[in-house]
């Protein structure tokens, strides 16, 4: 009897060891929009780092250029190869749906990023909620403005959904946390048309028209850099301020010279890590209940987007200052 028990125990141990080994052999692939865009080269840095840290069979594989058909074929190849999880940043959500359905049908875990409209996924990770990111930009602007003065907001187009949600989030944050700041009611939202020159001209016009204006909150990645040019040209440095989304390398000069104290962004490297971490959780069969902690900076308390059980939102924004502008590689 004892012998049998020992044998059973040994068998159980071997089995669990086998299971543990199998876990480490999970093949997880991150498919970005393409392989050469600096944004996704940065994502690969995060993915490779995470593979090294965790010892997972995790790698990023992209197509030579951004093309919806090429991406779909790459994903089909990965399905045929029998990988365990696919993490994808879709070029075009519609064209990927049928392919992702094939993946789900084949029992492959599918995690998306920036694909909130996808239905054939286990989960989609967004770096942040739109209102949360807007509040974060406002915090940065308020810090530069010393928490007081007249400000307005700039969006690419007033029809652009996400930019306007950011701007709304920023204004809401100001009302709640910065009582000494006031929104320029005459022109509370101006358009930059996603164009640096338009942003520059608009800002010059605003500063001349409203001498009291002390800050502009930018949303599109062209806004803050364009506004910064206007500030520099009008000699208003240190008197008026801006903050908003911006790419690090392109804006190194305005950060170094101090015209702009901080820009905001989300880091694709961290998004890559977060996708991989969530894939592992799903593969392990862990229950995903909010708040989800993926152990990745900015992705430690993900919550479901209102009305969705697939889209998870983090706090994955980062601030870019002259001190860290060189650390991103794009």
């Amino acid at each position: 009897m004892r012998k049998l028990l020992a044998l059973l125990l040994a068998a159980a141990l071997t089995l669990s060891l086998g299971a543990a080994l199998a876990q480490e052999n999970w093949e997880i692939v991150v498919v970005p929009k393409d392989a050469s865009n600096p944004w996704f080269v940065r994502m690969k840095v995060g993915v490779d780092e995470y593979a090294k840290e965790t010892g997972l069979n995790l790698y990023q594989k992209g197509t030579p250029e951004i093309d919806a058909t090429l991406q779909a074929q790459l994903v089909q190849d990965l399905i045929a190869q029998g990988v365990d999880a696919i993490c994808v940043v879709p070029v075009n959500p519609e064209s990927l749906e049928p392919v992702l359905k094939q993946a789900m049908d084949a029992g492959i875990v599918v995690i998306a990023h920036e694909g909130a409209s996808l239905t054939n996924v286990n989960y989609d990770i967004e770096a942040f909620s739109n209102s949360g990111y807007g509040a974060f930009i406002m915090d940065n602007l308020a810090e530069a403005m010393g928490g007081e003065g007249l400000y307005t907001t700039m969006v690419a187009h007033v029809t652009n959904a996400s930019h306007n949600e950011w701007a709304d989030g920023g204004v809401a944050r100001q009302k709640e946390a910065y009582p000494n700041m006031t929104l320029l009611e005459a022109e509370p939202r101006v358009e930059s048309e996603d164009n640096g020159d338009v942003a520059y001209n608009k800002a010059k016009e605003l500063f001349k028209k409203y001498p009291d204006l002390k800050g502009i909150m930018g949303t599109s990645s062209y806004d803050a850099p364009g506004i910064a040019r206007a500030i520099e040209e009008l000699g208003l440095q240190g008197k008026v301020f801006t903050s908003g989304t911006g790419m690090p390398a392109a804006n190194k000069a305005i950060l170094d010279s101090g015209i702009v104290k901080s820009l905001t962004l989300w880091d694709p490297a961290l998004a890559g890590k977060a996708m991989a971490a969530l894939a592992v959780k799903v593969l392990k069969g862990e229950e995903i209940t909010a708040p989800v902690d993926l152990g990745v900076e900015g992705y430690t308390a993900l919550t479901f987007k209102a009305g969705s059980d697939k889209v998870l939102e983090g706090q994955g924004w980062v601030v870019i200052t002259k001190d860290n502008v060189d650390s991103f590689g794009f």
């Binding site: 392989a35 790698y59 594989k61 919806a68 058909t69 190849d77 190869q81 519609e94 990927l96 749906e97």
Partner: protein, 348 residues
Amino acid sequence: MSGMARPKGTLSTLYAGNRHVFRLVAVILAWMVFMALTRFEKFYTLINFQTMASQFPEFGLMALGVMLCMVTGGIDLSTVGIANLAAILTAFFLKAVALPDGGLPAYAIPAAFALAMAVGAVLGVFNGLLVSKVRIPPILATLGASELFTGVAIVLTNGNAVSKLPIGYATAINSKVLGNLIPVQLIVFTAVALVIWFLLNRTTYGVKIYLLGTNATAARFSGLSNDRLLVKTYMLSGICAALGGMIMLANYNSARANYGSVYVLQCILIVVLGGVSPAGGKGRISGVVLAIFLLRLLETGINRFPQISSYYISLIWGGVLLLVMVLDYFSDYSAGRRLKRRPATPAP
């Protein structure tokens, strides 16, 4: 090939007549052996071959059309434009005829194919008229037409994807027949390839376009109507492209003005790799079909190596193209020398 004066047995005759095809087979076999040695269990699976067979028809069909144009000494750069425009119009049609419960009436799928082929034919005839009647060089005519078709497609859709199609169409084309083995996409491709093989090898149309491609002036003086032949050829290319668009519509269950934009150049590379002379008058469909296989085998094979960046796909593809053309040059060169030497010997 008059170099066959010395009979050497059927196999060498066969080789001499199909040098290029044999060379492509050799390259494909070499790649298959390489994959067998390095990634056997991940490459030689049924599902992998089924996946490839469902992937290549969309650009394979377009390449068949480009081949026809190139045999006449022309080219068709508007295939992707035609494919997308046909797919978008068909998508509108499918959405319009969908039943309230999201299903499709029985006539919908055949009608959709008929509509797409009609669109492809009309756009192809437009290309053919530009080339033959207006006498615009084919490369410019079809490039301009491509921009035009894509522009119309963008205007029709505002640049967005046409999606949320009734699922019946995608399901029908994405299924497998004959005991769940053969993808429907492959059936469509095979059918079109057979039709084109028949046209080129068993009809006067085939003989005429080879003559037209070899020497347009000689063709005209032989009493051929070059203009009509060109219009017919570009029409066929348009139909092939539209069918490619139908496969894309099914594979991605949506249509958009910019799908498959990489296929324009890819098709030309395939056709040239397949042994069709860009100067016209020369080329076999077997070569083009093998080149289509080779491209898919290379791409899927490379995707089996996580460490290899996708940049290498272009690199290897370009390398293979140049390799085959260099091999061609040397074998044609030596064949040419043999031919020249022979009449030279009896000279005084």
